[in-house]
């Protein structure tokens, strides 16, 4: 066992001597958080909407007032008055405006007589996000038309009152667990996979193999070193990311301790997986190519950026064995919910089991001779 330690010592000394590597490992996930968090997480605003009022009645006026208040309040939509439906439709097609509300003749009369009033909405559905937002916002606006209409005999709609159990989670915070996992994965990829194969290529391994070190000690040393490196970068990304995303309560001692423990398990799971994958490889170019594949296969379906519930069944099978899934879930629980540690125990259990299997696999696959 004791011969694993010089391997760890060598790797860590090299790691701290290469601060550029550490910075790169930190920059990529934090950048990911800032750029993607803002790109996906921000609400869509400043949408131009054409309004064609062919009715001119009081109900139509109330719809226009409602749209104006949307403009005053957060500048979500800007209404531009059009004379006719044809011009409005053309401008929606040309992208001058993102949508057009058509209030047909007789709109107000129908509102008051209760004859199912209809307003038209022309949408540029090539952009689903904008179209969806407009449909929601404008649906609210046209409801204002019936605000002071006489009450009918039965209730038109059943209200659903949502109660949010946790403070509002902007998308950037939602992404944070995934980004921390990605940071650890990158460290393992570079500091575990690539450096292993570079060493092999350079002949450093021959140097190890002529000493009396055992196969188990060598693999253990490499896994320990990779786990420590990934833990260091995991903690750094957690702290940095939490500050960027505004998750300040992770600094409560017990919660921070729980986070560190989880980060260690995740690091070991990632490192042992990498060690298993590269055990028989010789070409240092391979892990570089592998990174793209693993990133797509393991990171995206893990729930890091989109809920796993959206995936088709065959893809969900990947998420069941994907260490990213458990890493992201565990981190999300600790970071955003601040829930009891027992909630993450199943994640920790899976990660430990996964790491044990992968570690055993890499010892088995590793060759003591050239």
């Amino acid at each position: 066992m004791k011969r694993a330690l010089p391997i760890v010592e060598r790797e860590l000394r090299k790691f701290i001597r290469t601060p550029a590597l550490l910075v790169m490992v930190l920059i990529m996930p934090v950048l990911n958080l800032v750029v993607l968090g803002n790109a996906f997480g921000g609400r869509v605003r400043h949408l131009n909407v054409a309004i064609v009022d062919e009715d001119g009645g009081p109900a139509a006026r109330r719809v226009r007032e409602a749209m104006l208040s949307l403009q005053m309040n957060g500048d979500v939509v800007r209404s531009i008055t059009y004379d006719n439906e044809r011009d409005a439709a053309r401008d929606v097609r040309d992208g001058v405006v993102q949508g057009a509300v058509i209030l047909p003749p007789g709109f107000s009369r129908r509102v008051y007589t209760g004859e199912q009033p209809r307003a038209g909405l022309l949408l540029d559905n090539t952009d689903a996000v904008v179209a969806g937002t407009l449909q929601g916002v404008l649906n609210g606006a046209v409801q204002q038309a019936a605000r002071s209409a006489p009450t009918t005999r039965y209730i038109r709609a059943v209200g659903l009152d949502p109660v949010e159990l946790f403070p509002f989670v902007p998308y950037m915070r939602y992404m944070l667990p995934g980004v921390i996992s990605l940071g650890m994965f990158m460290t393992v990829m570079i500091g575990g996979g690539m450096s292993y194969l570079d060493d092999k290529q350079r002949g450093v391994h021959e140097g190890y193999l002529v000493t009396p070190i055992t196969k188990f000690e060598l693999v253990l040393g490499q896994n320990l070193a990779g786990t420590i490196k990934a833990t260091i970068s995991g903690i750094m990304v957690t702290v940095l990311g939490a500050l960027v995303a505004g998750v300040y309560d992770i600094f409560q001692p017990m919660r921070f301790l729980a986070l560190i423990l989880l980060v260690i398990f995740v690091s070991f799971a990632f490192m042992s997986m990498m060690s298993c994958l590269v055990a028989r490889m010789n070409n240092p170019m391979l892990p570089r190519a592998l990174f793209g594949i693993l990133n797509t296969l393991l990171y995206f379906p893990s729930g890091a950026i989109y809920p796993t519930q959206s995936l088709p069944t065959w893809l969900r099978w990947i998420t069941y064995v994907d260490p990213f899934t458990y890493a992201v879930h565990g981190l999300r629980v600790l970071l955003l919910k601040g829930a009891a540690v027992r909630v993450v125990l199943p994640d920790v259990f899976f990660l430990a089991l996964f790491a044990a299997v992968m570690f055993a696999g890499s010892v088995k696959l590793f060759r003591r001779t050239l």
Partner: protein, 322 residues
């Protein structure tokens, strides 16, 4: 001589249908320096890898100071220090850190490390650079770090795979002097592979010529050279030579042929350049014949290599590179 430091018995290494090492047997005595000479692909690196436990032996056996490398690899590993062809010390670590990590891999205790590492740095003339990062050193200094690294566990046998390949001429001489000194001070058995003739000639007590996986010759450099018939020649120009000068030259010890080149110049082909030259000098002195010029072209290991393998080392190198 008691038990040899290295005993190789009928060693064979096969990679599929290719036989890289084909029934090689020889012993290396304790304290001896043996050079393995041969072109790339001759099998010398494979032989070294078998000996250093890096590749399994197909058949035959290799014993290092009584330890069979197949049956008792860990004990065998402790008795050899390996200096690989590629420079593998870490450039972003200091000389001392590089040595210390390897010492730990060999299980050298802390007290031993404290004693051995400064001694080794002294030995390879790097004591004042011990905290320098290896990346800041010249090629020759780096090679010296690797030599020191191969000695951290005080092995009895040092194995060097092409120690001067890629070094400039000054660094090469530097490394040779270092090795000569280490050998003298530590009574090490050294096995060195090379494809430089001058290196083999200068460093080795005996030379093993390997070609196409086979051992084709094994002897001292001198004996190898003299085993090549008539490849040394002496060219001399005399003043006032007597009429019967040619038969007198023919009678010189070791002489094979004598050829008059005209203008008082002669070429004597001999199988022992040293003896014939001495005899020639004595003859000239006795006969009061002045020697105006004298040039001895002795057999080189290149000639030896061609003689034993039927092709030049440089040709093989070129063929291997192509």
């Amino acid at each position: 001589m008691s038990e040899p430091a290295i005993r190789i018995e009928h060693a064979v290494k096969q990679y599929g249908a290719v036989t890289a090492v084909n029934d090689v047997s020889f012993d290396v005595g304790t304290g001896e320096t043996l050079g393995l000479l041969g072109p790339n692909g001759a099998g010398k690196s494979t032989l070294i890898r078998m000996l250093t436990t890096l590749v399994p032996i197909t058949s035959g056996r290799i014993v290092l100071h009584g330890d069979d490398v197949t049956l008792n690899p860990d004990r065998a590993r402790l008795s050899i220090g390996v200096i690989p062809q590629a420079m593998t010390s870490d450039t972003d670590l200091s000389i001392e850190e590089n040595l210390s990590i390897y010492a730990k891999l060999y299980g050298v205790s802390r007290e031993q490390r404290r004693k051995v590492i400064p001694e080794l740095l002294e030995l390879v003339n790097l004591a004042d650079r011990r905290t320098s990062l290896v990346g800041t050193l010249s090629g020759g200094m780096r090679r010296r770090v690797e030599i020191a690294r191969g000695l951290v566990h005080s092995p009895l046998i040092l194995v060097l795979d092409e120690p001067t390949t890629g070094l400039d001429p000054v660094s090469r001489v530097d490394v040779w002097e270092m090795l000569t000194r280490i050998k003298r001070e530590r009574q090490l058995t050294i096995l060195v592979t090379t494809h430089y003739m001058d290196e083999a000639d200068r460093l080795c007590d005996r030379i093993a010529i390997v070609d196409k996986g086979r051992l084709v010759a094994l002897d001292t450099p001198r004996a190898l050279k003299s085993s090549v018939p008539g490849a040394s020649s002496i060219e001399a120009q005399f003043g006032d030579e007597p009429a019967d000068w040619e038969p007198q030259l023919r009678a010189l010890a070791g002489t094979l042929t004598v050829q008059a080149l005209g203008g008082d110049s002669w070429r004597i082909v001999t199988d022992d350049a040293g003896t014939t030259t001495m005899a020639l000098a004595e003859l000239a002195l006795g006969a009061k014949v002045a020697i105006r010029s004298l040039a001895v072209t002795s057999t080189s290991l290149d000639d030896v290599f061609v003689y034993y393998t039927g092709h030049g080392l440089k040709d093989s190198l070129a063929a291997a590179a192509a």
